[in-house]
Every structure is written in structure tokens, then in C-alpha cells.
């Protein structure tokens, strides 16, 4: 991926990879999506506060947590966005952090509807 573009390669949500990881266990998949729905908004909110306050330590920690959560879920692009913010926070590049946060939020906006749609589909 290019450094200047706030765009990430790969699928928004790699459902195939995730299904393989959960061994086609739909119940587990639903459970993971529920954990995500609960944990993601809290974590990203804390991350926003940390970035705004230029709190490098918490920004690095929280973006790391998001990276793990997103990559486990198969959200390849959002995970890459979180990884970028983590790297910037660790390097202390405060000037670029807000942009990276915006990029992460943009990826999350693409991801969440896909997850919602899937959950609505499997609910019945």
C-alpha cells in the first residue's frame, strides 16, 4: 500500500477466511460478531479520545487491540488501517495520527454495514 493514500488493499470483510477460521461454525461466528458489536464502539471511542489528546501510549495500545480484533474477524482493510495508526503512535508521529484515525473510521464505515447485513441474513 502507498504511504500517501489513505486507502488499503484487500477485502473489506473476508468472510471466506473467517468461515474457514471458525470451521464453518455459524454459532461461533454470530458470537464473535456480537462481541465485536459490543467491544468495537467502546474501543474506537477511547482511541479517538487518545488521538485527540495526543496520548501516544494509549493510542498505540488501543489501535493494537483494534488491529487484533479486526484481523481475527477477517476485516483486512480496517485491520491494516489500525496497524498504520499503531505504527504512527509508536513512532510518535502525532501530526499524522488524526489522518490515520479518519482512515480507520472510514474503513469501519464500510465494514459495519457488511456485518449488519450478514447478521440480518443469518438471523432467520
Amino acid at each position: 500500500m502507498s504511504k500517501k493514500e489513505e486507502d488499503f488493499s484487500g477485502p473489506v470483510w473476508n468472510l471466506t477466511e473467517l468461515l474457514e477460521r471458525v470451521d464453518n461454525d455459524q454459532e461461533l461466528l454470530r458470537e464473535l460478531l456480537n462481541i465485536f458489536k459490543e467491544d468495537f464502539p467502546q474501543t474506537i471511542q477511547s482511541l479517538q479520545s487518545a488521538v485527540n489528546a495526543k496520548d501516544l501510549k494509549n493510542s498505540s495500545r488501543l489501535s493494537h487491540t483494534l488491529k487484533g480484533m479486526l484481523s481475527s474477524l477477517g476485516a483486512t482493510r480496517a485491520a491494516a488501517a489500525a496497524a498504520k495508526l499503531e505504527a504512527l503512535s509508536s513512532a510518535g508521529e502525532t501530526a499524522s495520527m488524526e489522518g490515520a484515525l479518519n482512515a480507520l473510521e472510514a474503513e469501519a464505515h464500510r465494514l459495519l454495514p457488511e456485518l449488519e447485513a450478514y447478521m440480518a441474513e443469518v438471523r432467520h
Partner: protein, 322 residues
């Protein structure tokens, strides 16, 4: 098999937990390194561990280092989970004591395969420990009777004498010799002789408390150490031990057999601080006195008695019951 998962992030933790549960593991999941270390420090704790690198309280490499500094505990096979990919960090992780590392997000098949490697290592360790324990037992026990062997009971006796002297307690040393054992071997054969020795060993063990020591001192000689034994009760307990041999019929391949034992007894409190060799020499003299007095009896070794060895009487024939 038990496995520990330590990851502070709930989604990844749940995913791992379910994956390993399905693979047949008994999963213990915790949220930070401190809890991980607690679990791994339990006596029956997991011996396989998947540790996330970045965790609050204590990170994955920190857990590895803490586990590896412990000694005398069973081996724990630890796999670090990391999204970090650089060579430097891989080296750092392995040098902290991890056995392996996996990058997140994991592939379930690879994860299971790597854990099987861990299980192989642990199985190997189990076999080595078992072999070592077997060798330790063989080095300290008599092969025929499984009693302590001469070297082992001498070591224990020396330690016990030291302790009883320090604590001003008394240790009772009993040396017993099966009467006319040679006749059993000569007339009934060595197989019966071995049966007799095994049975006598069992009776001696049954006649003492769990914290006393019983050892095979020589061919048909047995050393019994009664730890912290009140001098007033020692002769009575020695008599009980003698009767446990002479009052009971031994069933052998060649029919029932009655045997007796002569015993010498010494109370360490009456002798002050003497070397173990000297005390064993004295109790041996008491045993010879018992033999001279007609066998199947007990003689007590007293510091003041000047001992003259009486001539040994001729062996009587072994009484066989039919």
C-alpha cells in the same frame, strides 16, 4: 490436555478458545500476563500455553521469562502470538523463553499442527521424567523386596541421627536377622528363600509407622529405623516387630513355613553423638547376643556393657509345618 490462552482482546480470545476446545483441549482462558503466570504456576496447571505478545500487566515475553526462571517444575511449552513480524522481534520472543511463535490472525490448521509439536515435546519430557524416577527408585531400593537398599537406609539413618541429636530426641535402631535362613535356601531352594525375604519385608513394613524406615541391610539382615521413638516404648515396639515375624506362617511354593528373627536394638539417646558406623557395630553385637541367647529374641545394646562374643550355637533345623 489442558491449554492456557492469554489474550486481552475478547474476540480473538473467544475465537482461540472455541478453536482449541473443538480440537479436544481443556481450555483455560485469561485476560492478562499476570493471570497467565498464576495459572502456569499452579501444581496441576496447563503445560501448553498460547500467549499474546502485547498484554496489560505482563506481556507474553514477560510471562515466558518468569516461567523459565523457575526450576524444578514441569516444562511448559509456550507459543507466542504476535502480529509483529520483524526478525528482531521473533528473536526477542524466542530468547525470552518461548518455544514457538505464531502470527495473528492464525490459521486453525497451522495452530493445531504447532500445538501437536508442543505435545510431542511434553510427551518426551514425561518419558524422561518417568525414566529418571525409575532410575532413582532402583538406585535407592532393593530389587527383590523393594525396601530401601543399604546405601539409602544408611543415608536416611545418618540424617535421622543428626536430627534426633539436635532436637534431643531418640532414634531407635533395630537390626534383625532371619534365623537359620541359610537352611531355607539350602533345603528348599532360592526361590523359596526369595519368597521368604519378600514376605518378611512386607511384615516389617506393616509393623512400623509410615515415617519409620525399613531397609535390606544384607542378605537376610534388615535394618529398621524408628524415628523419634520414646526410649521407654522402643523395646515394646521391637518385640512387636519380632512377633510379627515369628507368630505368622509364611506361605511358600513348597508349603507353609514358620520362621523367626533375632534382633538387636540400640537407642541413640543412650549413646550420645557417635558416628553411625560405631552405632551399627554396637547394634550388630546386640544382634549376636540375641543369636547366642537362643534366637527369636531381642537384645538391647547398652553403652556400659562390656561385650564378649559367646560361641555361636549350631543351627537348628527349620521347622516346616505340614
Amino acid at each position: 490436555m489442558k491449554i492456557l490462552i492469554a489474550d486481552d482482546e475478547a474476540l480473538s480470545r473467544r475465537l482461540l478458545e472455541r478453536t482449541l476446545d473443538r480440537a479436544g483441549y481443556e481450555v483455560v482462558a485469561v485476560e492478562n500476563g499476570k493471570q497467565a503466570l498464576e495459572q502456569l504456576s499452579k501444581p496441576e496447571g496447563p503445560r501448553l500455553a498460547l500467549l499474546d505478545w502485547v498484554m496489560p500487566e505482563l506481556d507474553g515475553p514477560g510471562v515466558c521469562r518468569a516461567v523459565r526462571t523457575r526450576s524444578e517444575q514441569t516444562y511448559v511449552y509456550m507459543v507466542l502470538l504476535t502480529s509483529k513480524g520483524s526478525k528482531e522481534e521473533t528473536v526477542l520472543g524466542l530468547e525470552s523463553g518461548a518455544d514457538d511463535y505464531l502470527t495473528k490472525p492464525f490459521n486453525a490448521e497451522e495452530l493445531r499442527a504447532r500445538l501437536r509439536v508442543g505435545e510431542r515435546i511434553l510427551l518426551l519430557e514425561d518419558r524422561l521424567v518417568e525414566a529418571r524416577e525409575n532410575m532413582r527408585f532402583r538406585a535407592t531400593h532393593d530389587q527383590l523386596t523393594s525396601l530401601l537398599n543399604r546405601g539409602a537406609i544408611m543415608d536416611l539413618l545418618a540424617r535421622e541421627l543428626h536430627r534426633s541429636h539436635r532436637e534431643q530426641k531418640s532414634t531407635a535402631i533395630l537390626l534383625g536377622d532371619v534365623d537359620h535362613f541359610k537352611l531355607v535356601n539350602d533345603t528348599l531352594g532360592h526361590v523359596v528363600g526369595d519368597e521368604v525375604l519378600i514376605e518378611i519385608a512386607n511384615r516389617l513394613l506393616a509393623a512400623v509407622r509410615s515415617y519409620d524406615f525399613v531397609g535390606r541391610y544384607g542378605g537376610e539382615e534388615f535394618l529398621v529405623v524408628l524415628n523419634n521413638c520414646d526410649p521407654a516404648f522402643a523395646p515394646g515396639r521391637a518385640e512387636e516387630i519380632r512377633k510379627s515375624i515369628s507368630n505368622l506362617v509364611i506361605q511358600t511354593a513348597k508349603g507353609p513355613l514358620t520362621l523367626t528373627m533375632s534382633l538387636g536394638l540400640l537407642l541413640s539417646s543412650e549413646w550420645g553423638k557417635k558416628p553411625i558406623e560405631e552405632l551399627l557395630h554396637e547394634v550388630d553385637i546386640a544382634l549376636y547376643e540375641a543369636k547366642a541367647a537362643g534366637r527369636d529374641c531381642l537384645r538391647i545394646s547398652k553403652p556400659s556393657t562390656a561385650v564378649e562374643l559367646p560361641p555361636a550355637t549350631l543351627p537348628q533345623s527349620v521347622r516346616l509345618r505340614h
